[in-house]
Symmetry: C2
Subunit: 393 residues, 2 copies
């Protein structure tokens, strides 16, 4: 039985070692005046960014360059739009981690409009975006957010009145996702670990989401199959392996496609709440909370005898042992295996505790009050949420 589902457009995908060589050709499809959004990090130090700039110059493409530091704020987007609106930008190209890609995506969405991006943020502004935007090409240099394939850009204003919200429209799916593992080998181990845990969280949460479909399940399952064997190597001895990096990049890309279509669960509910108050990398929040969240989800599903959801968790547990779950298999055993594996990953990868970012017991009520269940397979209450947060305080 294939129940009702909808599926948003995917970007045009160019994937593989050396695919950055296509950047000139991809940009030329849209014009020759580019706004290039980049980070400040490793790609510059490695000299790769200069090579990319020369590729654009070789194709007679002119560009302005904007550098983004940290997770993007509405002010950053509004300032960039003020500066470049009316300057005939044909296409926005973002080369960087999830923050850079989200910044580029939001700028491309706002360039043709006069208002502030805040007006269109979910749960904050009251306006509906028309979807009209400048074409956008995403070139990720980390493997985590999957933003290269999603229809939303996450913007944050951090602080007591802070928020972390999405600008979302199906037209905001990037026109092109250009994914070159050779650009990702420069990503340092701690960021690789946090991003990798984020990608796994996205795959698992979309896989067990009530909004998942057979289509997203097929993709998410395949993404987790690649991730499981490559997450630890990517962060440890094999970080320079193109094969390892390609597998992680593939898993991340797929996680973006599945989250855009099936949604996410409680871990991302926490990430949205915590990320608006504290300056803590998104991948760290997800990575640190995934194990206790999965333990709690499975415990509650067991108490409710929600066999169908438990089987989905068990299927991923079996996958971690390269097994296909059979009807005769012990669901409990594989659910437990899933939990213990995520525990082990969290430990091996030294994913930080929340307290390392200044979060204390006294913050929990406030975080819980701001946390939504999103598309979690089961509704968790305040006590359940407290259990999850306390486990990683």
């Amino acid at each position: 039985m294939i129940p009702y589902f909808t599926f948003y457009r995917t970007p045009r995908i160019i994937f593989g070692a050396g695919s950055i060589q296509e950047i000139g050709r991809m940009v030329s499809d849209y014009g020759n005046n580019v706004l290039l959004v980049t980070g400040k990090e490793s790609l510059t130090r490695s000299g790769k960014l200069n090579k990319i700039v020369r590729m654009l110059e070789d194709c007679s493409i002119s560009f302005s360059r904007l550098s983004v530091h940290g997770e993007p704020s509405p002010e950053l987007v509004d300032d960039a739009v003020s500066e470049y609106r009316g300057k005939g930008i044909d296409v926005v190209v973002a080369i960087g981690g999830g923050s850079v890609v989200d910044a580029g995506k939001a700028i491309s969405a706002m360039l043709p409009h006069d208002s502030s991006v805040v007006d269109y943020l979910e749960g904050i502004g009251g306006s509906t975006h028309s979807g009209v935007k400048v074409p956008f090409i995403a070139v990720p240099t980390t493997s985590g957010t999957g933003s290269e394939a999603t229809k939303n850009a996450v913007l944050s204003r951090i602080g007591d009145d802070g928020f972390k919200r999405s600008l979302r429209h199906e037209n905001f799916v990037p026109d092109v996702a250009l994914i070159d593992p050779e650009l990702i080998i420069f990503c340092p181990p701690d960021i690789t670990a946090a991003c990798g845990m984020d990608a796994f969280t996205q795959l698992l949460e979309s896989y067990v989401s009530p909004e998942s479909s057979f289509f997203t399940d097929t993709l998410a399952y395949s993404g987790m199959g690649y991730l499981k064997d490559n997450l630890i190597p990517a962060c440890t001895g094999d970080s320079g392996s193109i094969d390892v990096r390609a597998s992680m990049a593939y898993a991340s890309l797929i996680s973006g496609i599945t989250l855009a279509n099936a949604g996410l669960g409680i871990v991302h509910g926490f990430a949205s709440a915590i990320g608006g108050i504290f300056s803590i990398p998104h991948g760290v929040i997800c990575g640190t909370l995934l194990a206790p969240a999965t333990r709690k989800n499975i415990a509650v599903l067991r108490s409710e005898r929600s066999i169908e959801s438990l089987v989905k968790f068990a299927r991923i547990g079996a996958l971690l042992e390269d097994k296909t779950l059979m009807p005769s298999d012990d669901t409990d055993k594989y659910c437990d295996l899933l939990i213990s594996t995520i525990d082990r990953w969290t430990e091996i990868l030294h994913i930080p505790l929340l307290r390392e970012y200044g979060i204390t017991e006294g913050d929990l009520d406030r975080i819980i009050g701001l946390t939504g269940n999103k598309n979690n397979p089961v509704q968790l209450g305040a006590d359940d949420m407290r259990y999850i947060l306390s486990a990683r305080l």
Copy 2:
């Protein structure tokens, strides 16, 4: 290892029983002046088409209606474009089988342009299409061509100087594919059978294509998993089952996505050649030739010891028995199982022989001369092609 791959945009997909109710909302995203392209067949007789028309009227959408009979010719497209160009058509909606969807797709592509569609046909015209088109919504009422997800429209001029060629651009991927199995239950058994064999051919040919990627393989494999249990029921006792029809519609949709990205093989090479000369349904050509083509492909791959390709065929053979091919499994056994299953399907479904459409021994040289290998996993020569055609003369 994930090698280099590219992936074109998918349409926005709305899939499921009753999803036709969304038609008004989908159309309204683009405007309120529709060119509605339909077939002449079962959907009208069932009264369903009238219901759809009322749904549009209820949304204050005005429409012109064009009825298409048989596989579309360049003249049909040019005539329709002459009639409707300049009339402010906001969106083209095609509701019908593969021919109707292809006609609608070509008309949507040509409405903003002055020239004949022949100028842009692959291997015929000398011009390159800009990709500028009127938005296009595809609503398939058969499960076969996958045209609701592909970037090409096949047009034919049948006869001695005939051709069957594609109008192709990545922008021609429909903006929306609306797939409602409730519209497909009216499809009669012989068309269901031919279309179903076409869908399986597309899935298998794209799966074993040298241009396949891990991404398309994941999808094609899942599509064949659904098709194998539902092809015979859809054509026999369970043609009225929404579950059965949904599975076939899903397989067909996936086949469109995978063929658009991985290409097709020798069976579609024949279909292109034969379809330009003889008036024979596309699905019949594919269905009748798939078994001998698979037998010949596997024989040549064995003689060349092309283990990698043989393993891919064997994996599908194993899937037909609900098994995952393991490294210790006998590849030959599962390749043979694949061939014998396709033979059995061909027999049970009474897929016609070529002679029933007037093709004789004397036509073979000409057909072979016009047949290309496309993305077949192995290059077949004239003798190999003669073997395949002769088996189904």
